[in-house]
């Protein structure tokens, strides 16, 4: 229990702090407590006043957190103001969609990025390097939303989750490629690699044991960060592809200042970021100690 308790407490502390800060930011942002129904010409002054009261413009942040904390203890995450549905229901519907698409996209991105990086580092060929670099430069220059549209056009809209996953992979891959290439290039330049090559070790063994293994720490840290990248890319892609995932929900909630939904989404993001990074750190620790043991 001991080794798990500390990281769990760290994750919890990060999540609590994150939610408090996120709530404060949202509360301070312009447009909070504003409902676009206020500009509906059909509504009279009394209705507009009622709408303003419902929007909670005058309600203190502290009273919200107290109510939220009480609800959280009983599994009630509140009700979305913009969509008029329980937040727990919304998340239950949408998390699997985003998790599936982002997970598949991330896997594809890592596979392609790592493969290209290993090829570039191993081949040490200007043409190969320029080709990979050029392709990734082009992808980096395309907005994530444009990538989403392109994948939809190419695929003809069959299988929305696959389209979103492909677009996420295209959005995240170039960033992973650049960083992994840098990490592997750094490892390649180590003296022990030159020694290993001189001793005639096979390229595969060289790559696996003498380049990838020592680079495990930064690569695993990047893996932790890449979940944030994937989730960030999912937001504009889901909006553009009309995929009913969490990313689309985040955008709608932000534009409508849907406080209950935003706070819960903020909590989810905090847990995702802290959790994935903690996992990466733990994996890095295991790999490091295994290396030392060897």
């Amino acid at each position: 229990m001991g080794p798990l308790l500390k990281p769990a407490l760290h994750i919890l502390a990060t999540a609590v702090l994150g939610v408090l800060l996120a709530g404060a930011l949202i509360r301070m942002a312009p447009g909070f407590g504003i409902d676009e129904r206020e500009f509906d010409l059909r509504l009279n002054d009394d209705s507009v006043r009622r709408i303003r009261a419902e929007a909670g413009a005058g309600r203190s942040l502290w009273s919200f957190y107290v109510a939220y904390g009480r609800g959280l203890a009983t599994g009630d995450l509140g009700t979305s103001r913009a969509l008029g549905r329980p937040v727990s229901e919304l998340l239950r519907e949408r998390i699997p969609i985003t998790l599936g698409a982002a997970g598949a996209g991330l896997l594809a991105a890592w596979t392609v990025a790592l493969t290209l990086a290993m090829v570039c580092v191993h081949c040490r060929n200007a043409v190969v390097d320029a080709a990979c670099g050029g392709f990734n430069a082009l992808l980096l220059c395309l907005p994530a939303a444009a990538l989403g549209l392109l994948t939809m056009l190419v695929s003809g809209q069959s299988g929305r989750a696959a389209i979103v996953a492909a677009a996420i992979a295209l959005a995240v891959m170039p960033r992973l490629f650049r960083l992994t290439r840098g990490i592997l290039a750094e490892a390649w330049s180590s003296p022990h690699v030159a020694c290993a090559m001189a001793r005639g070790i096979s390229p595969v063994r060289l790559m696996l044991w003498h380049i990838l293994a020592p680079s495990a720490g930064p690569l695993l840290a990047l893996a932790g960060v890449s979940t944030t990248l994937a989730f960030g890319a999912a937001i504009p892609i889901e909006v553009v592809c009309d995929s009913p995932g969490v990313g689309q929900l985040v955008w709608q909630a932000a534009l409508q200042r849907d406080f209950p939904l935003l706070v819960n989404l903020g909590l989810m993001v905090c847990l995702l970021v802290a959790g994935s990074n903690a996992l990466a750190e733990a994996a890095s620790g295991v790999v490091g100690s295994a290396g030392r043991g060897r």
Partner: protein, 550 residues
């Protein structure tokens, strides 16, 4: 006899060849809505997807014929106004059933209206009826007659019943909008997948029948697909995945108008206008000299004359918009005042107007009498490309008379906060889409005490004489039972608005839409819902098409 017989055959053949094909029964009509409806409760719905579902499922007492813009009896077979507009009496149609087979009676009407007019309720549709203090009284007078008494005269209130769907008194109020709720409209909701689609099936007990006595609608089911992205919606339409698009951007319309398996319709200027107004709120967080500018009629008229509306219509909307002649669109055939002179593009006239107010052009820059350079910002909502381009054109036009304009595109909540709460802005460019032809639907815009009186809302007393006059005229037309007198009052409001320019009306966007060639009996209208207002009478061209769309 022979030539006469041939003639008979010829006439019969001619009539048969020209006769419309018999309607085909069946199939599924598919189109998109921009978002999930916030609620399926017909009394609560205020957003467009919710109102679309309400239109398709709700039975109303009176229906506005979108083509002729006249009110027609629906579930009420007749109605009359009493006591100088203070009361309305409806005679309810007999032998009408809800979708679950239960009888629709006057008791259901009373139940619905009492719930709607309950002072504790927050139904958006109720506000239009509430004109001043006092309760609205609903009573049943006889088996088929319902009488509604208003505390004050409410001219034109009958048109609002187009938005009030009757609900069954047997259905629990807390489950209103749930799937399975009995309805009176041509369709009922049978499936709802949030973020995906809403499926409606025919109401087996819908009261309307076709000429052969068979119950309408012709089409078996509707699928409302949730699609926020407009270009994807158009793409789905061109691929045949959906059957109609009721609002097209000018660029998409231009593409579709080139031809294909569809009909693209340009209905001319619609009811939606682009408007610019200046912040005249005394509490506005702007310097006093700017307040003085914006309160000056000459300044506003000068700015108006400097704007090239024809270019906005041509350049931004590709010609599919019309320079706005005034506060009311020409598409609103009864209420439009054709005597109001349309604003012309006249930069020299603009400078002359401004000179009268003490503005002078110095070194290419316009300055007021206090030496301040005329510079202000225009806020508009971001993400609307047409509006951002309109703002850029305005910036360029005003630069020609020495006015420097900064364009700031804000997200809608931030913009709304500035315009309605903090009043921290100089000028605002927005579009208003009017769904109500009647001027009483714009009371909250024109009354100086109203919250939507954009340039200076919620005034305790009218700040200017012309606003006081508009207040009087609007109250008068709201209580006047004679339509011609109402029109005269509202014509005067339009003339005052043209003279004082509290809002600069720029262009009326054309209503652009497209329908699959295989869908019949479509009669596009500028009043929404443009293409499905007669949904019960729409049908597919061929049985094959209808079968393919099961």
């Amino acid at each position: 006899m022979k030539p006469f017989g041939c003639l008979l055959y010829f006439v019969a053949f001619w009539n048969l060849a020209g006769a419309p094909p018999a309607p085909v029964w069946g199939g599924e009509l598919r189109f998109c809505v921009r978002a999930d409806p916030k609620t399926l409760d017909p009394l609560q719905s205020a957003d467009q997807p919710g109102e679309t579902v309400r239109y398709l499922t709700g039975g109303v007492l009176l229906r506005l014929n979108r083509a002729t813009q006249t009110l027609e009896p629906e579930l009420a077979e007749s109605w009359r106004t009493e006591a100088g507009g203070r009361a309305l009496e409806f005679r309810i149609r007999k032998d009408v059933k809800f979708s679950d087979g239960s009888a629709f009676t006057a008791a259901d009407v009373v139940y619905t209206l009492k719930a709607l007019f309950d002072p504790a309720s927050t139904f958006p549709a109720a506000d239009g009826f509430r004109r001043g203090p006092g309760a609205i009284v609903v009573e049943q007078r006889g088996p088929d007659v319902v009488r509604i008494a208003f505390p004050n005269a409410a001219a034109g209130a009958e048109r609002l019943f187009d938005e009030v769907a009757m609900v069954s008194k047997r259905w629990p109020a807390d489950r209103r909008g749930a799937i399975g709720m009995p309805v009176l409209g041509p369709y009922r909701v049978v499936e709802y997948r949030p973020g995906d689609y809403i499926r409606l099936a025919r109401n087996p007990n819908f009261w309307r029948t076709d000429a052969t006595g068979r119950r309408l609608p012709y089409i078996d089911s509707l699928r409302l697909i949730v699609q926020q992205n407009r270009s994807l919606e158009v793409r789905r339409f061109t691929k045949g995945e959906i059957d109609l698009v009721d609002t097209l951007d000018p660029e998409d319309y231009a593409r579709l108008a080139r031809g294909g398996a569809w009909r693209a319709h340009n209905l001319g200027p619609g009811l939606g206008a682009e408007q610019l107004w200046f912040n005249q709120t005394p509490a506005g967080r702007i310097p006093d000299y700017k307040k003085a500018w914006f309160s000056s009629r000459e300044f506003r008229n000068g700015m108006s004359a400097a704007l090239n509306r024809a270019d906005i219509a041509r350049v931004v909307y590709g010609g599919w918009a019309a320079p706005a002649p005034g506060a009311v669109s020409p598409a609103n055939s009864f209420w439009f005042n054709s005597r109001v002179p349309a604003p012309a593009y006249a930069p020299q006239q603009a400078l002359a107007d401004l000179a009268r107010a003490g503005f002078r052009s110095t070194g290419g820059a316009l300055r007021d009498s206090g030496g301040h350079a005329v510079e202000f910002s225009i806020i508009t909502n971001s993400g609307n490309q047409m509006r951002e381009r309109t703002a850029a054109l305005i910036q360029d036009d005003l630069a020609k008379i020495g006015v420097r304009v900064t364009i700031v595109a804000l997200d809608f909540p931030s913009l709304l906060e500035r315009v309605t709460h903090t009043f921290d802005y100089d000028a605002c460019l927005l579009g208003f889409s009017s769904v109500d032809l009647d001027p009483s639907g714009q009371m909250n815009l024109w009354l100086s005490s109203a919250n939507a009186h954009a340039w200076n809302p919620e005034q305790k007393a009218p700040a200017t004489e012309w606003e006081a006059e508009i207040d009087r005229l609007m109250e008068r037309q709201a209580a006047e039972p004679v339509p011609a007198k109402r029109k005269a009052a509202f014509d005067r409001v339009q003339e005052i608005a043209a003279r004082e320019s509290p809002m600069l009306f720029l262009v009326y966007r054309n209503t652009l839409c497209a329908v699959s060639s295989e869908l019949r009996n479509v009669s596009p209208a500028v009043v929404g819902p443009s293409l499905i207002w007669n949904v019960e009478r729409l049908y597919f061209e061929s049985a094959r098409r209808a079968e393919a769309r099961r």
